[in-house]
């Protein structure tokens, strides 16, 4: 905002477009929203994942019964969603680390976001094709 505001004035209401701020509504915000949501999703998955893995201490049969329910196409889509979240969170996490630690990080943060998206498409695409072929083929 170019107009000076005194302490008493409340700041002018944000325009819907988010113009006038460096952050709101722009790539920076959406990459952060995505990072937040994927982080929570992975965390919740991990809580359940450690519980289902713990079935190896109950009996081989119990473990195999539960793992067996993963081996079909709709669970494969769920696994793919999880892996999509992991890949995004991982690559965007590296971008955050570079923005913070690399001298030129702040200058290239948008380029790096593009790199994250491209790497995501390539790595997730390869995973998805192979995973679905294995699930449907076997």
């Amino acid at each position: 905002m170019s107009t000076a505001t005194t302490a008493q004035q409340s700041p002018p209401a944000q325009k819907k477009s988010g113009r006038g701020t460096l952050y709101r509504g722009k790539e920076g915000m959406w990459s952060w929203v995505g990072h937040r949501i994927t982080g929570v999703v992975i965390f919740l998955f991990l809580l359940v994942h450690v519980l289902d893995t713990a079935l190896v201490r109950v009996s081989p049969e119990a473990y195999d019964a539960v793992i067996g329910t993963y081996k079909n196409w709709y669970m494969a889509l769920g696994e793919s969603g999880l892996v999509a979240a992991v890949i995004y969170h991982a690559f965007n996490g590296i971008r955050i680390v570079l923005v913070d630690f690399w001298k030129k990080g702040t200058k290239y943060h948008k380029h790096m976001l593009w790199a994250v998206m491209i790497a995501w498409v390539v790595v997730f695409g390869a995973f998805f094709v192979r995973h679905m072929m294995l699930v449907l083929g076997g």
Partner: protein, 161 residues
């Protein structure tokens, strides 16, 4: 510049009246710094640990069809995979707990709500870390039932002993 040196004490360089020092503030900002650094160190390590975990369980051999008790038994027979999974468990759980803790701080305004969510988060995290650690260290590939017989679905190598 003239040869004369101006010598003005830098603010906050140690000679502050103790009544202006807030112990709580400085130790809590050390904790924030620790969390910030921890997120940035654990993240890249987790990338390697988790990508290899996903690759070895879903992309090689029969993929998800190959997963069963015998596969886990085979992996955990090797100390490499035990340490791999243990590190992944601890780093991912601490990283995730710090991350979710930040999110709770951001979205709760009342102290009571915040403390309630945090206590639940920490209890769940400790329980999962302890459980996961015990599972790795007490794993028994050839389990027997009360009568001493090998259980169903035991890996084949248990039968040749």
């Amino acid at each position: 510049m003239s040869s004369q040196q101006l010598n003005i004490a830098a603010p906050r360089s140690g000679d502050i009246d103790p009544k202006y020092l807030r112990q709580s503030a400085s130790s809590s900002s050390n904790r924030e710094m620790f969390k910030w650094v921890f997120m940035r160190i654990s993240g890249p390590i987790l990338l390697v640990l988790i990508f290899v975990h996903l690759f070895s369980n879903l992309m090689v051999g029969d993929g998800v069809h190959g997963l069963n008790f015998g596969l886990v038994a085979g992996k955990w027979a090797s100390p490499l995979w035990q340490i791999w999974d243990l590190t992944m468990l601890w780093l991912a759980m601490i990283h995730g707990t710090i991350g979710v803790g930040t999110i709770i701080d951001d979205y709760t305004s009342k102290d009571r709500t915040r403390v309630g969510f945090k206590v639940a988060l920490y209890l769940a995290s400790v329980a999962i870390i302890v459980l996961g650690t015990l599972v790795i260290f007490t794993f028994e590939p050839c389990m027997t039932d009360a009568a001493g017989n090998l259980m169903d679905n035991s890996p084949s190598f248990c039968f040749n002993q």
